[in-house]
């Protein structure tokens, strides 16, 4: 069997070399989509997985992050990356608006509030002329310099996204080992017990949400810097939130590599089903998503990683016999 350290090195090397080995534009496109899904789901994972506060409206943070780069470009002609910190600040502010009142109550309130606020913002942006209303915003068609980050080739995007994913996973790994990480797990296991042991429950949940919102907003910014276009549905649509949920839950919510595994399985299979069923198959994809989510909830709430950890020892035993 592989030791975890060797496995990790192989995974890292695979991700670094992937676009060089499979260099066609088709493969690079899958690679970039995969990384974006892994970043969004890992960001969701901090509050939804580790803290056990299930957001079903994370698209609101993604959308804010996606709109700001194009908004600063449209209004003042700034390079889109200048919008990233603004997106982060707004996402954290929004996290406070939702988290401060709902984290006093049980987890269901938080979930309801996230879906309602995400929908509220989607409708608001769809009617607001400053942000392009229903039409949305467009980025620079041709880059004015390297700082606009408009590349013909997908390769630079791939490595930028990979770097962000690495930062996010290192941050999450650091959290896991710190007091903050223990607080999160205690809250997830039993909020009442955690509180009685002196865990500052509300502050911890709030910090987790703020951190998660900030990274989700960065994911939105990366998406828009690559595509150069955003409208209310591609920024705030419910399916953005659904994808984060399903990627994280499929691999294993509340584990470091769960979202990565989820994205590794889901994104290539999604590309295959889309090419099989054609453009009209998107509806079928979401039926499938709904079905998978229900099955995970019913049979494997720990996701595939958890299933693997339970099955692997048995398989090993059988191999020895």
């Amino acid at each position: 069997m592989l030791s975890p350290r060797v496995g990790l090195c192989l995974l890292g090397a695979g991700l670094l070399l992937y676009p060089l080995i499979l260099s066609g534009p088709f493969y690079r496109d899958i690679g970039v989509t995969f990384l974006l899904a892994a970043i969004s789901a890992s960001a969701w994972n901090i509050v939804g997985g580790y803290a056990g506060q299930v957001s079903v409206g994370h698209s609101m943070f993604f959308g804010l992050g996606a709109y700001m780069p194009l908004l600063v470009y449209t209004l003042w002609g700034w390079p889109p990356i200048a919008g990233i910190p603004i997106g982060i600040a707004l996402a954290i502010g929004l996290a406070a608006v939702i988290g401060l009142p709902t984290f006093r109550l049980t987890g269901h309130y938080f979930s309801m509030a996230t879906i309602a606020v995400a929908e509220l913002i989607r409708i608001l942006f769809g009617t607001w002329d400053l942000v392009g209303a229903a039409i949305g915003l467009q980025g620079p068609a041709v880059g004015r310099g390297w700082w606009d980050l408009t590349f013909r080739n997908e390769l630079p995007y791939y490595y930028i996204f990979l770097a962000v994913l690495a930062v996010l996973l290192l941050t999450t790994a650091a959290i896991e080992r710190r007091r903050f990480g223990f607080y999160l797990r205690a809250i997830k296991a039993s909020e009442r017990a955690a509180k009685s042991l002196g865990v500052p429950v509300r502050q911890t949940k709030m910090k987790a949400l703020a951190l998660s919102a900030a990274f989700t907003s960065v994911a939105g910014s990366l998406y828009v810097i690559k595509t150069g276009f955003i409208d209310p549905d591609s920024g705030f649509g419910i399916l953005i939130s659904v994808q984060m949920l399903i990627v994280a839950a499929l691999g294993g919510a509340g584990t470091l590599f769960g979202p990565l595994i989820g994205a590794l399985i889901l994104i290539p299979s999604q590309t295959v089903t889309n090419s099989l069923f054609g453009g009209g198959g998107s509806g079928l994809t979401y039926i499938l998503y709904g079905g998978i989510i229900v099955l995970i909830a019913r049979f494997e709430p720990g996701g595939l990683l958890d299933l693997w950890y339970r099955l692997a020892p048995k398989l090993r035993k059988r191999a020895h016999v």
Binding site: V54, G290, V294, P301
Partner: protein, 285 residues
């Protein structure tokens, strides 16, 4: 006069909001559980009504009962096959279960019925009543009245009958109820049946006056959240008042601000409620 017309129309629609929201609040009161697929239950009720009218040429009483019955069965089935297993599991499974169900139902409906808006063919409820200068479509009037009666009936069922006492006993203390010879699983299955049945008949009532598409479930689900948050989690009578209030607010804001703003106002109210009065009008936190 136009304002009176707007107010009456809002209240009549609000009565239907009250009916389907009472189903959502019943489940919350029984088991501290939020059903994210509740709006989809309403949407399915609309399509059941549609199919009964198109295939069997059933009248309003027939398609209303058919929608209630079909959704009652679906509700019990969902409880028995899904909810019963996730209710004591982690929060993640609880929320994912009905959220996934909502997606499954919504996109299956898209697949079968397409995204086009449909409306019921002329029913026997066609026609308009003119009352002191305001026009009242008979279908809306009947639907609103039936919705109020049914919501009150659900309230009375919970507060005045043995079945209601059993339901509330399970909600209060599952173990103690079991010691009294009540089967909690059966009671909770009944609650899911009643909840989905209320959503189904509310959908059928709404189908008599408004066109719809598979995406309405998302909107109705959110409206039910707002109604329940305003009326108080677990209070059926609270959801009756809150449903009427939300219907009124929607109609008035659509009239004065424009149709796109009616949902913005209602969802904004939800955020304000979370900050100011999270326990709702009639509820306990």
């Amino acid at each position: 006069m136009v304002v009176v017309q707007v107010i009456v129309g809002g209240l009549l629609l609000g009565a239907i909001y009250a009916l389907f929201s009472s189903g959502l609040t019943l489940i919350w009161g029984m088991m501290n559980f939020i059903n994210f697929a509740h709006g989809e239950f309403v949407m399915l009720g609309m399509y059941v009504a549609f199919l009964v009218v198109v295939w069997l040429h059933g009248g309003p009483a027939v398609f209303g009962l058919a929608a209630a019955l079909a959704l009652f069965v679906l509700g019990v089935g969902v409880y028995a096959s899904l909810i019963r297993h996730v209710i004591r599991g982690p929060m993640l499974s609880q929320i994912l279960s009905t959220f996934g169900l909502a997606l499954l139902l919504r996109y299956t409906a898209f697949w079968i019925f397409s995204a086009n808006f449909v409306s019921l063919p002329q029913t026997s409820l066609a026609g308009t009543l003119k009352l002191g200068g305001i026009f009242l479509p008979i279908a809306q009037l009947v639907a609103g009245a039936v919705a109020i009666v049914l919501t009150l009936a659900l309230h009375l069922l919970l507060t005045r009958t043995t079945i209601g006492s059993r339901l509330l006993a399970v909600a209060e203390d599952r173990a103690a109820a079991m010691l009294m010879g009540i089967r909690p699983d059966r009671m909770q299955a009944l609650a899911w049946g009643l909840s989905a049945g209320a959503a189904g008949i509310a959908g059928a009532l709404m189908a008599t006056s408004y066109p719809w598409s598979p995406s309405v479930g998302e909107t109705f689900g959110l409206i039910a959240f707002v109604v329940v948050a305003l009326g108080g989690f677990g209070s059926v009578i609270g959801s009756l008042y809150a449903g009427l209030i939300i219907g009124l607010i929607q109609a008035v804001s659509a009239f004065y601000l424009g149709a796109i703003y009616k949902d913005i106002v209602v969802y904004g109210l939800f955020v304000a409620l979370l900050w100011l009065r999270p326990q709702g009008l009639m509820g306990k936190a």
